[in-house]
Symmetry: C3
Subunit: 311 residues, 3 copies
């Protein structure tokens, strides 16, 4: 992957994923033992965020610093050259002059592909609008593999039941993860309000690759048999009228009572931030994997940074 950009989950084969996960495991071990390593000493990551995202930008920053590298954070884009009318293309070329890699967050789908096409240095898509968020999908899948106790280099998810819960229409995270899951023939249960269903083209990707899909409007059906419950936010602002929002929102709140009806060794995940989709009482449940999921994000990003910068 040396010198390559990471734009979409579509670019990865199962072998690629196994390799990335193995490197991520090595990164975790190195961080646990030594805090950081000097693999990218002298390298600079430009963290170019056209939208605020504390979590993702902090994760990239920590990943680069734990690899011994430095970061140029560019987060106030609205005050910067961009607001003087500069194009994304010129900004990318400018950062090529200073840095060895660019992590790009941008509100418009397709921005990462555009940036990668003209950049002399690797670009890592850190989320582009309703487009992709590949590093999130990678950390999500890595978390599933880790939490289920599977071998990262030869895991089989064909017997797994994965529930995707919440806003499946606009949830970029869910779209990217679905595509990765499609590579493994999992059974996917889609639980969402009618108005927020997974887009048909993503359903088609899943079924064309041998996944079994089930559509639900509430969690009752798939809850007791699921191996992974991936909850996401249902954003109020997505609804046309508030009454409809009020009528569905409580169906999508995970409580200790919910967890009492789930399997003992299942995995509860959430891409965060949460508002009230998962009650705080659930945090101490050993199946609540969302804080480990977040930490895995740092190891995945360390692996990607190390790989694209050629180490």
């Amino acid at each position: 992957m040396e010198g390559k950009s990471i734009v979409s989950v579509d670019q990865f084969t199962p072998d690629d994923l196994s390799h990335i996960f193995s490197v991520a495991q090595e990164m975790r071990q190195a961080v646990n033992e030594r805090g950081s390593i000097d693999l990218l000493k002298g390298k600079i990551l430009a963290n170019l965020f056209y939208e605020p995202s504390t979590r993702t930008s902090s994760s990239f920053m920590a990943a680069m610093q734990r690899l011994g590298g430095s970061v140029i954070p560019i987060t106030e884009v609205k005050y910067s050259s961009v607001s003087k009318g500069e194009t994304l293309v010129d900004t990318i070329r400018t950062l090529n002059s200073y840095s060895d890699c660019i992590a790009l967050r941008h509100p418009q789908a397709g921005s990462a592909a555009l940036a990668a096409s003209i950049s002399r240095k690797p670009v890592i898509n850190a989320g582009d609008g309703i487009g992709e968020h590949p590093t999130q999908a990678l950390l999500d899948l890595f978390t599933i593999v880790e939490e289920l106790g599977l071998q990262s280099d030869s895991f089989d998810l064909r017997d797994m039941n994965v529930v995707l819960l919440g806003d499946l229409l606009y949830g970029r995270t869910v779209h990217s993860l679905s595509k990765l899951l499609s590579l493994y023939g999992v059974t996917v249960h889609l639980v969402s309000p009618k108005t927020l269903r997974l887009p048909q083209e993503i359903c088609d990707v899943l079924t064309s690759r041998g996944c079994r899909l089930f559509v639900h409007e509430n969690l009752e059906g798939p809850l007791s048999t699921c191996d992974v419950l991936y909850a996401t936010r249902v954003q109020k602002e997505r609804f046309d009228d508030e009454k409809m929002y009020e009528s569905v929102k409580d169906s999508y709140v995970i409580t200790p009572e919910t967890m009492s009806r789930a399997k003992k060794n299942m995995v509860l995940m959430h891409p965060f931030p949460r508002v009230n989709e998962i009650s705080f009482d659930v945090d101490s449940d050993p199946r609540a994997a969302y804080f480990r999921q977040m930490e895995n994000g740092m190891y995945i990003r360390m692996a990607l940074l190390a790989m694209v910068m050629g180490k």
Copy 2:
């Protein structure tokens, strides 16, 4: 102190303070000789500032960098996940995934204690509303000890006259420093407008520990005998009507004329920023310690960071 959070000045004994000051002196020596040391190489500090504070955040950042560590600055909180409704608790847990320590500035009193109670990594209170600002109080006391030429490991302040001047009601800095001073039985002169007096509960702490308190409305009385004059801002917006503000503000301006009536070896301090409480003409007076006070802040924070991260 390894692994411990620093939430309040109340947690320190005189022995703790002597120890912190000794480490701070070593830090100053190391910086003067070598610029930086590698004590925290590979460690990451999350600088989580819910309120802007260039001075305090820069000081923490410089302290961490001079210890060989890295910093994740999170200062645009209003644009970040927090504005998406995330709780402080989730933000702290997120940063636990990436960093080894969190410096927290927050507008609400009690935030630092809450954060410390749920954090897996040490939290250092960098000011929480009208609550505490313990690192400021530590650097203030360290400066007093240093400027008076005392031994950091066995100093005695019982014969000292300390004047606290300005807004003593809302001044968080003054509250935290008062509590530290109370450990040493100093004589404290409180000089403030009637409406901005030191809160009774802090007066009670001071007297219950053997300090002698004197209340004044202007500086005339204690000026000629004080050993330490600690000036603070009188903020216009604290006053109900502007006339009252105008009537008192000039009583609290330190000029060369003021200094001419003070002892030759006294110490003039200010937590900064100043507006017009101390005239620029005073800066060249050797008793004006406020710039050295600021520099001491970096050494104190270096000491604390090194101690809580276990070195």
Copy 3:
């Protein structure tokens, strides 16, 4: 230059410039071979930007990091102590407590000189209003020397024709570069709308030092013979009425057609950001030097940082 501030291009002799350019070349070589060096390990640069400027602040940050040093970025000045009424003088003194050098961007001309006069550490002017932008001028001249294939330690520009194009009245970049060019007796062609001509005092500097000046209202005359074409923005907001703007703006757009009439070995430069002064089609022309120009900025700033911090 150890310990010295860099405030204005007026402080440099041709010998100084040759020396800076030689060091910049060494910096480029070091970056190409190793990514970074440890020359300023343990040193801290405060990047104090009162105005946003992604390009300049990122360039300083990358330069410092590639020298092994750390950066304290202070870019949200409007939220900081400054907005609490603090003076530039106190802010500089504060940063003296924490850092080894200050890069200052400020909207008011003269700010850098003021800051340098009271700072205990070197101040580098990163642009002060309609005043100076010396590091930009240095990187511009360095680019001219490099692109024309001259020896950095003994170059002669007397036979060169340099075109300065665009808004020459308000363009700080052009003013600083003009002063540097005046040291070398070049022939300068000034191409601008009548209302945006180079200020007379700068014309006087050029002619008094033996430069030949020619004034044009369009590029036709000097295009075919120029060795360097330095294009700048014509900002709409500088014009009293929009009609006038519309009437001139297209005269100042460089296209492949423009380039077809220029010399084969000339150099096209622009300080960036560009809006539409240079068409994207020109980017692949080998004479288009503006991205290399930007990269040179990092090497020049590395050279300056290393020199003023005494290495």
